[in-house]
């Protein structure tokens, strides 16, 4: 998801906060030491860490047996935070990361706000970036207090004591006490004002690859996702909302559904039905028998209408995001002008676990069992539809079978609560794959217009980029949609480059009511990477320059971006000849503070079908906390983005989503996956995220590689089929 770069504000807040006000210590329930962490917020108000306003965003508990528990507001969606975040605490606390138990925090926007976002959410590649400093501080303070407790016990000076592996040792007298022995005493001590953090050269955990802690359960079928949750008396509901965008239910054969054995009930709303049964098989069969009829809505709406609306919007008024220098004048005096229109389609998330939520409503309140990236939002959305106060809505979060931004929405939980309200037993609502596609919060469809005015040497002195799209921000976080500008849509609209004269603009155009666009892994930059990096290649070609050399000129003032460019180019063997039918393409992006450069190598056959052979990726995400985990995020991110860049588009015909399962929505499979090489820049900068940048960069690299292979510029995603013969790309994909 989108995250404005608040890093400068964070650091200014940081310096005003004393360490003491940033952390609190106290007695944990059951005795023991509790450290509460109020991570610095980017908003000034939240930085007021006075006694009344102290709002911890995470907790560390050390009990009398020495067990360490971290209560972490971030959720595990496959990105490995339950493995990497304890590393930050363990490094300073002097315990092994495996000794720290992780507990997921309950919903509370105030208590568990993401310090980078200001509310409780897992997104924006923020987890490690946000908690790198606070978790190390907390570990260090806890260690200092445990050492102080030991020194007091022994009547020795604390400076003669040291911590190691969950124990405080006094070498001079050869005495030692465990953290469990010391926790209660430490809890009564004052919080030290200043505790020095380790010099990074002394790190023994951060920077070392650590195995995932969820691997055994996930390879033995023991992990419980929300779709697996069951309690006695629970029934299964299979729901269908109108397959026509904005349509309404006008008929159904309820009797036929109820004759299916094990079907218990049919629940209907204006635009949704659900069949409830003892098991999913019966509920699905019941839904087929129910044969609901739908009418109204955007019954003639098609992709062509959606694109027509975007083209109209982009030709009309726009909101200025950036206007530096004088683009119009610079273009008028430029040696020549380049102009291009780019387009990127709607995309589905297609998480492997479809949307699922279980709910139970009693007089006493509501229980929600769900996998969500935004637990507090689910709580308030369910409270709103059920009429319960928030504290009566108990949200139980699960590990998720993929999220990719889809689980930043609350629609499926709200639907489950509404269905549960109509029955007197707990009900688990499982979306079919078809439902999951039809009612996704699609990545917006984008239309872009770019122009550049290169000087006599081909170096652009002016650059303009107007983006037309729906606004996810206006719906999802209206406070960040200011003066009609969606800051995510234009994030990366000039790439990592700086042009002397540049104009970035946004034109909003929403799809028909009943359709939703949402956050998609890599967010706005996933589309801008394709658009801008392709256009930069066009500029390079116009200047008669090699794409990498040309970018080096543009990035002369951006050392970190230039370093990843150079590293990727070198490792990929940029400049070595490619055989006919093959091509190599480069892209460079900056997303959430992480710099990524990728070189893609493709083969294109005579029909124009593209095979992605190899991806070389250079990453500067500051200090790498868990190298193998970060590498996995980049590898997977590349596959996720490559799948979309090569194959994916959600089409609309007669008001219906055309692609509704994996037979028509082609996703990358193992036989199509490239070899991937990932190189991290050695850095002592604070860490930034790796969950999304790998995804965001790949469309640009692939687009450039395919264009290089066929000798023709492709300006519309996806590019994986019919790159040579356009009619080929109109043949719908059908996997048997």
């Amino acid at each position: 998801m989108y995250m404005k770069d608040f890093s400068s504000e964070v650091s200014s807040v940081d310096t005003r906060l004393s360490r003491r006000s940033f952390l609190r210590a106290g007695v944990a329930a059951g005795g023991g030491l509790l450290i509460s962490i109020n991570a610095p917020m980017f908003r000034a108000a939240a930085a007021d860490a006075s006694a009344a306003n102290f709002a911890p965003s995470a907790f560390i508990r050390i009990d009398k047996t020495g067990h360490v528990t971290a209560v972490i507001p971030q959720v595990e969606i496959g990105q490995g935070v339950y493995t990497s975040m304890p590393m930050l605490i363990a490094e300073e606390l002097e315990v092994e990361p495996s000794q720290i138990l992780v507990e997921h925090a309950p919903p509370d926007d105030k208590l568990y706000a993401n310090p980078k976002l200001g509310f409780q959410a897992t997104g924006g590649s923020t987890s490690i970036a946000a908690f790198y400093e606070p978790f190390r501080q907390a570990g260090a303070v806890a260690r200092a207090m445990l050492i102080a407790a030991a020194a007091e016990t022994w009547g020795v000076d604390a400076s003669g004591c040291r911590a190691e592996n969950g124990t405080v040792i006094h070498d001079a007298s050869n005495r030692s006490l465990t953290y469990g022995d010391l926790a209660a005493k430490a809890a009564a001590l004052p919080v030290p004002d200043k505790v020095a953090l380790k010099d990074p050269k002394d790190f023994r955990i951060i920077g070392r690859s650590l195995k995932r802690r969820d691997s055994v359960d996930k390879t033995t079928g023991r992990t419980q996702y929300s779709i697996d949750f069951i309690i006695p008396g629970m029934k299964i509901a299979v729901a269908q909302a109108s397959p026509i965008i904005g349509g309404k239910l006008v008929g159904m054969d309820e009797r036929a559904a109820l004759t299916v054995s094990a079907v218990r009930k049919v629940v209907r709303f204006d635009d949704t039905v659900a069949v409830i049964a003892d098991h999913t098989g019966a509920a699905r069969k019941g839904l087929a028998a129910l044969n609901p009829k739908w009418e109204g809505g955007a019954a003639t709406y098609s992709t062509a209408d959606l694109v027509g609306d975007l083209d109209k919007a982009i030709a009309g008024n726009a909101v200025v995001a950036t206007n530096e220098g004088d683009v119009k004048n610079a273009v008028s005096i430029a040696a020549k002008t380049l102009e291009a229109r780019y387009e990127a389609p709607l995309l589905a998330h297609a998480t492997m676990e479809p949307m699922t939520c279980a709910a139970r409503i009693t007089a006493d309140g509501c229980d929600i069992w769900v996998g969500t990236q935004v637990i507090a939002r689910v709580q308030s959305a369910v409270a709103a539809v059920t009429g319960f106060p928030a504290e009566k809505v108990r949200v139980h979060n699960f590990l998720m079978g993929g999220a990719f931004g889809r689980r930043l929405e609350t629609d499926y939980a709200v639907q489950a609560a509404m269905i549960a309200r109509q029955v007197d037993f707990p009900v688990k609502v499982i979306w079919t794959r078809e439902e999951d596609f039809r009612h996704d919060a699609f990545r917006p469809h984008y239309v872009d217009k770019l122009s550049a005015g290169p000087d006599a040497n081909g170096i652009p002195t002016a650059f303009s980029h107007r983006v037309a799209a729906s606004s996810v921000m206006a719906r999802w976080a209206p406070a960040w949609f200011v003066n009609g500008l969606d800051p995510d849509a234009v994030d990366g609209a000039a790439g990592p480059y700086k042009f002397r004269n540049q104009l970035i603009e946004y034109s909003r155009s929403e799809p028909r009511a009943g359709m939703m666009t949402g956050w998609w892994r890599g967010v706005g930059v996933t589309h801008n990477s394709f658009t801008v990096e392709s256009f930069v290649d066009e500029m390079a070609a116009a200047a008669g320059k090699d794409p990498v050399d040309f970018r080096r000129l543009l990035l002369a003032q951006s050392p970190r971006a230039k370093a990843v460019l150079d590293l990727a180019a070198e490792k990929a063997g940029w400049g070595t000849p490619m055989p006919a039918g093959r091509g190599r393409g480069i892209s460079v992006i900056l997303l959430f503070g992480t710099y990524v450069a990728q070189v893609a190598e493709v083969s294109v056959d005579a029909r124009g079908d593209v095979r992605l052979d190899r991806v070389v990726c250079a990453v500067d995400c500051g200090r790498v906390v868990n190298p193998d985990g970060a590498k996995a995020q980049i590898e997977g991110g590349i596959i996720f983005g490559a799948s979309a860049a090569l194959y994916n588009a959600i089409d609309i015909e007669k008001g219906r989503i055309v692609q509704t399962n994996f037979d028509t929505y082609r996703v990358m499979r193992i036989d199509e996956a490239p070899t991937i090489e990932v190189y991290f820049v050695d850095s002592d900068q604070p860490p930034t995220g790796t969950g999304e940048p790998g995804t965001a960069a790949i469309a640009g690299a692939i687009g450039n590689a395919v264009s290089a292979a066929i000798g023709k510029r492709l300006r519309k995603l996806p590019v994986g089929r019919g790159a040579i013969n356009a009619s080929e790309s109109r043949q719908p994909y059908q996997r048997l």
């Binding site: 969606i77 098991h279 492997m352 590990l399 993929g402 996995a632 399962n661 193992i670 036989d671 991937i676």
Partner: protein
């Protein structure tokens, strides 16, 4: 209608319509949730189980078609040498991310390894291309299958 099934070496009796997909019988009726629903049309492989040792997509297998055949799910695949090797390889190489597809991936890999103890890349492509992973762990899945092929038969499962 009642069906007697042989699941992971145990006789289990279920009373469902004969056309009920085996997937829902295993998950909802028998309560074994390691086998996953992904697409319902045998396109993603998340629901893969073994029927008499052969990989099968349980979402497209009517329960009435199974008869007395031996059904093996992810919960018991460690009892087969190739299943145990695959699990160990997956753990040693940290293959999983969200993990949702991995039951099916391991079931397909176990079947491949038992049929071809030293699979080539082409064998891996053929056996594994029916299993989708949206987290994109394919690079590691391929490595893990090759790694598993080199493990001795007495591999012990981690954890």
């Amino acid at each position: 209608m009642a069906y007697d099934l042989n699941v992971n070496g145990e006789q289990r009796s279920v009373d469902v319509d004969g056309d009920t997909p085996l997937l829902w019988v295993i998950r909802d009726v028998l309560g074994m949730t390691g086998t996953k629903y992904g697409c319902g049309i045998a396109q993603c492989g998340a629901c893969t189980v073994h029927i008499d040792g052969e990989p099968a997509r349980s979402c497209q297998t009517p329960v009435e078609s199974v008869g007395r055949s031996a059904i093996t799910t992810i919960e018991a695949i460690h009892n087969t040498p190739s299943g145990l090797k695959a699990q160990k390889a997956w753990q040693d190489l940290d293959v999983v991310q969200c993990g949702y597809c991995q039951s099916g991936q391991i079931m397909s890999a176990a079947a491949l390894l038992s049929e071809k103890p030293n699979p080539t890349d082409a064998d891996i492509d053929a056996a594994m291309s029916g299993n989708i992973c949206r987290c994109g762990t394919y690079v590691r899945i391929r490595d893990a299958i090759k790694y598993a092929a080199k493990l001795d038969g007495n591999a012990k499962q981690g954890g």
